[in-house]
C-alpha cells in the first residue's frame, strides 16, 4: 500500500450564536423559553455580584484568597442549567453560578474561600462535587461517576468543568481515554479563559484548538463562544442529550476570558497587557445577553433593575449567613476523618482537646 492519508471520523466544529455585540444568528437561535433565559441571566448576575462582593471581602480580610470568575459567567452558568437533579456536576473552582443553581446555598462559596470545610459540604439532596483544588484531579471522578451510571444502567449524565491549563495534566488524558473506551455519558467543558495563571493558552499546548484533543480519544469535540450563553447552552444540551442516548462523551471548549486576577494573590499586570483585557471587556457576556433579552422583550429597564436589586439582596443575605457561621470548633477536624474513628485518633483528639483548653482556644478562636 502506498503512503496515504488516513480519514479520521471525528470533526471539530465552532459554534457561535449571539455575537460580541449581542446580535443573534437567527438561523441558529435555539429560541429558549423566557423562564430559562431569565434564569440563566439571573444566575450570571448572581455570579458577577457575588464575585465582586468576594473580592471586597478578601480586601477586608473577611475571607482569604479568592479566585474570581468575572467574564466566565456564561461559560459555566449556561452549561449547568442543562443538568437534571439526578445528573451530576463535577466542579473545578471558578463556577459559583453552578453551585448556586444546583442548590448549594450561596454562602458555600464564601465558606470555601473563607477557610471553612463547611464550604465543601454538599447540602442533603444535592449531588455534585465541591471545589477541587488540584487542577484536573476532578476529571477522573467525573469519569468514574459516569462509569457508575453506566454500570448501573442509569440514564443520567455528568457535566465536568476544567480549565485550559488543566488539559495539560495526565489526569485529563487518562479520564478522557477511559470515557472514550467505555462510551461514558460524560460532558467535559473546558473553560478556556486564555490563561493558566501567567501561562497563555498558546504556551499551554501547541494544538490549534483544545476541542481537537477529543480526536485523540475517538469522540467529538466542539469549540463554542463561551461568552455567549446560547452557544454554551446549545452545545451542552446536545452533548448531554447524546450522552443520555448512549452516544458517549463530548469535549466542549468554551472560549472565554478571565477578566480579573487569577486569584486575589495574583498580579496579572506582570504577564498580560491592559489592551488585551480591554478587548475582552468588550466581549463581556452579561451586557450582550442583556441586549438579546431586551431585544426579545424579555427584559426592560424596570425588570433589569428588579433583578439587580433581588440579586444584591440575596448576596447580602448570603454574606450575613456566612458571618453568622464562623464560630467553628477546631476540634472537629477529627470528626469526619473516618466513618468509623480508630482508637488512635480518639486518643489524639483528646490530646488536641486538652491543648485547646489549655490555650483557651475554643469556638470562634
Amino acid at each position: 500500500m502506498p503512503r496515504k492519508k488516513i480519514k479520521i471520523k471525528s470533526t471539530i466544529e465552532y459554534l457561535s450564536i449571539l455575537d460580541g455585540k449581542g446580535k443573534v444568528d437567527e438561523s441558529l437561535d435555539p429560541k429558549l423559553d423566557s423562564e430559562l433565559l431569565l434564569h440563566i441571566y439571573r444566575l450570571m448576575l448572581i455570579a458577577r455580584r457575588l464575585d465582586e462582593r468576594c473580592i471586597n471581602m478578601q480586601r477586608q480580610g473577611r475571607i482569604g484568597t479568592y479566585g474570581p470568575c468575572r467574564g466566565q459567567e456564561a461559560a459555566h452558568c449556561a452549561a449547568t442549567v442543562v443538568m437534571e437533579p439526578e445528573d451530576w456536576v463535577v466542579h473545578a473552582f471558578r463556577e459559583p453560578g453552578s453551585f448556586y443553581h444546583r442548590g448549594w446555598p450561596l454562602e458555600t462559596v464564601l465558606k470555601f474561600w473563607g477557610g471553612y470545610e463547611e464550604g465543601c459540604e454538599p447540602p442533603e439532596g444535592v449531588n455534585d462535587t465541591p471545589i477541587a483544588v488540584p487542577i484536573t484531579s476532578q476529571v477522573p471522578h467525573a469519569m468514574g461517576i459516569a462509569w457508575a451510571m453506566k454500570c448501573k444502567g442509569e440514564n443520567h449524565a455528568v457535566l465536568c468543568y476544567c480549565g485550559d491549563g488543566g488539559t495539560s495534566e495526565g489526569d485529563f488524558h487518562e479520564a478522557m481515554n477511559f470515557a472514550g473506551v467505555y462510551k461514558l455519558p460524560l460532558v467535559t467543558l473546558i473553560q478556556n479563559n486564555q490563561w493558566a495563571i501567567s501561562i497563555p493558552r498558546e504556551r499551554q499546548t501547541a494544538s490549534e484548538t483544545i476541542a481537537q484533543k477529543a480526536i485523540a480519544y475517538g469522540f467529538e469535540g466542539i469549540q463554542v463562544d463561551g461568552n455567549d450563553p446560547l452557544s454554551v447552552y446549545v452545545a451542552t444540551k446536545e452533548a448531554v442529550d447524546k450522552a443520555k442516548a448512549g452516544g458517549g462523551p463530548t469535549l466542549i471548549e468554551a472560549i472565554t476570558y478571565r477578566l480579573g486576577v487569577h486569584t486575589t494573590a495574583d498580579d496579572p499586570k506582570k504577564y498580560r497587557s491592559d489592551k488585551e483585557v480591554a478587548k475582552w471587556e468588550k466581549l463581556d457576556p452579561i451586557p450582550r445577553f442583556q441586549k438579546y433579552l431586551v431585544d426579545r422583550k424579555m427584559l426592560d429597564k424596570a425588570s433589569i433593575e428588579d433583578i439587580e436589586k433581588g440579586v444584591l439582596v440575596e448576596v447580602a443575605a448570603a454574606v450575613e449567613r456566612y458571618e453568622a457561621c464562623r464560630d467553628v470548633d477546631p476540634l472537629d477536624c477529627f470528626d469526619y476523618m473516618f466513618a468509623d474513628m480508630p482508637q488512635e485518633l480518639v486518643e489524639q483528639r483528646s490530646e488536641f482537646a486538652a491543648c485547646l483548653e489549655r490555650e483557651g482556644i475554643g469556638l470562634g478562636h
Binding site: 454538599p122 468514574g144 461517576i145 459516569a146 454500570c151 489526569d171 469526619y336 476523618m337 473516618f338 482508637q343
Partner: protein, 363 residues
C-alpha cells in the same frame, strides 16, 4: 478477637475468626463442627473473598488491568468476569490514575469499587488521587460522601521479578491520614480481612504479600468470615521478648521464634499487626509490658517505616518497661535489589533470630 461492629454485621452466615495462636491451619469443622472448610492458597482465598463480595453486594465492582479476561496476572480474579459480567468485573486501559480516580467517582456515586493495582510499585502513578481524594473526600465533605473503596495491590519481594515488582512501601499509606492499610499473612485472614475491607465504610489499602500467594494452604471456612480492621493478633504467646511483624515476614518471624524457643529456651511472643494503620497500639503495649524486649520486622525501608512508628509508640507509652533497645530488622534504605541479590537482601529467620538473641542478651 472478632469484634464486628453491629452496624456492619453481615446479614447471615457470619462466622467469627477463630482464636489465634499460630499459623497452623484449622482442622475441618473444628470450631463448632458445623461449618465446612476448604484448604486454600492465599490467591484462592482472596478470589473467594471477591466472589463472596460480588455475590452478596450488588454495589461491589472490581476494576483493574487484566483482571477480567486474563483473570489477573496472579489469577486472583479467576472466573469472576465469567460469573459477574463486564459491568462488575472491568478490564481497564493502562492508566493507574484513571483506575483510582474513576473508582473514587464510582464510590461517590454509591458503588463499592475494589480496584487492583497490578503491582504496588505502579501505584505511584495514582498516588495523587489517593492522597488528594481517596483519603480526603469523607472529611472534605464532612461525612456527606463516603469513600468506601478498596485498592488491592501485591507488594514485596521473593518472586524473582524485575525492578518495581518487589518493594514494600506500606509506610507511604500509613503516613497518609484518612486511609486504613491492611496486610494479611495467611489465606484465612486474607479472606476475612478483604471481606471486612470491602464492607468497611472507609477507604482501605489492601497490601497483599505476593510471596505468600501460593506459598502454603490453609483451611478457610466456606461460610462468610470477617475479621475486624485495626486489630493485631498475638499469634504466639511468650514472655521474654516480643517480635512484631506482618505480611510475608510473619513466616520467618515465627520460624525464628520457634528456633529460639527450641535452641535457647527463651519464650518469644509474636504479634501479627494485620492492619499497619491504624495501629493496634493496645495489643503491642500489652505484650511489651509483659516481655520488656522487642524486635520489629518488616521488608520495607527502615527510615520512617512502620517499625519506627511501633518503636515511637512503645516509647511514649511504656518506656519504663523496656529492658533493652528495640531492634528493627528491616529492608535497608536502598532500592530493593534486582532478584539475583534479593534472597540475600530479604530479612530471613536466621537474621531475625540473631537480632532476637542480641536483644535478649542485652543487659
Amino acid at each position: 478477637m472478632s469484634i464486628i461492629p453491629a452496624t456492619r454485621q453481615p446479614e447471615s452466615n457470619t462466622k467469627s475468626y477463630p482464636p489465634s495462636g499460630s499459623f497452623d491451619t484449622v482442622a475441618d469443622g473444628q470450631d463448632g463442627g458445623t461449618s465446612s472448610m476448604t484448604m486454600l492458597t492465599m490467591v484462592a482465598a482472596l478470589n473467594r473473598a471477591l466472589d463472596d463480595a460480588l455475590k452478596n453486594d450488588d454495589s461491589v465492582v472490581l476494576l483493574g488491568q487484566d483482571i477480567g479476561v486474563d483473570e489477573g496476572v496472579f489469577r486472583v480474579t479467576a472466573d469472576l468476569l465469567a460469573r459477574y459480567g463486564d459491568k462488575r468485573v472491568i478490564d481497564t486501559p493502562l492508566a493507574e490514575g484513571a483506575i483510582i480516580g474513576g473508582a473514587i467517582g464510582m464510590a461517590l456515586y454509591g458503588l463499592k469499587p475494589v480496584a487492583e493495582m497490578q503491582f504496588s510499585g505502579f501505584a505511584y502513578q495514582a498516588f495523587h488521587q489517593v492522597e488528594q481524594h481517596m483519603s480526603r473526600f469523607h472529611n472534605r465533605t464532612r461525612g456527606r460522601y463516603g469513600m468506601s473503596m478498596v485498592i488491592r495491590m501485591p507488594y514485596g519481594g521473593g518472586i524473582r521479578a524485575v525492578e518495581h515488582h518487589s518493594e514494600s512501601r506500606e509506610a507511604y499509606y500509613a503516613h497518609t491520614p484518612g486511609l486504613l492499610t491492611v496486610i494479611p499473612s495467611t489465606p484465612r485472614n486474607a479472606r476475612a480481612l478483604l471481606l471486612e475491607s470491602i464492607r468497611h465504610p472507609d477507604p482501605v489499602i489492601f497490601y497483599e504479600p505476593k510471596q505468600l500467594y501460593r506459598a502454603f494452604k490453609e483451611q478457610v471456612p466456606d461460610e462468610l468470615e470477617y475479621m475486624p480492621l485495626g486489630k493485631a493478633q498475638v499469634v504466639r504467646e511468650g514472655s521474654d521478648l516480643t517480635i512484631i511483624s506482618y505480611g510475608a515476614m510473619m513466616r520467618p518471624a515465627i520460624e525464628a521464634a520457634q528456633d529460639i524457643a527450641e535452641l535457647d529456651g527463651a519464650s518469644i511472643e509474636v504479634i501479627d499487626l494485620l492492619t499497619v494503620s491504624p495501629l493496634d497500639t493496645e495489643t503491642i503495649i500489652e505484650s511489651v509490658e509483659k516481655t520488656g524486649r522487642v524486635v520489629v520486622v518488616h521488608e520495607g525501608p527502615r527510615t520512617c517505616g512502620i517499625g519506627s512508628e511501633v518503636v515511637a509508640r512503645i516509647v511514649e507509652r511504656s518506656l519504663e518497661y523496656l529492658e533493652a533497645p528495640i531492634r528493627r530488622i528491616t529492608g535497608y534504605d536502598v532500592q530493593f535489589p534486582y532478584f539475583a541479590r534479593e534472597r540475600a537482601f530479604l530479612p530471613n529467620a536466621e537474621r531475625i533470630a540473631h537480632g532476637v538473641r542480641e536483644v535478649l542478651a542485652f543487659e
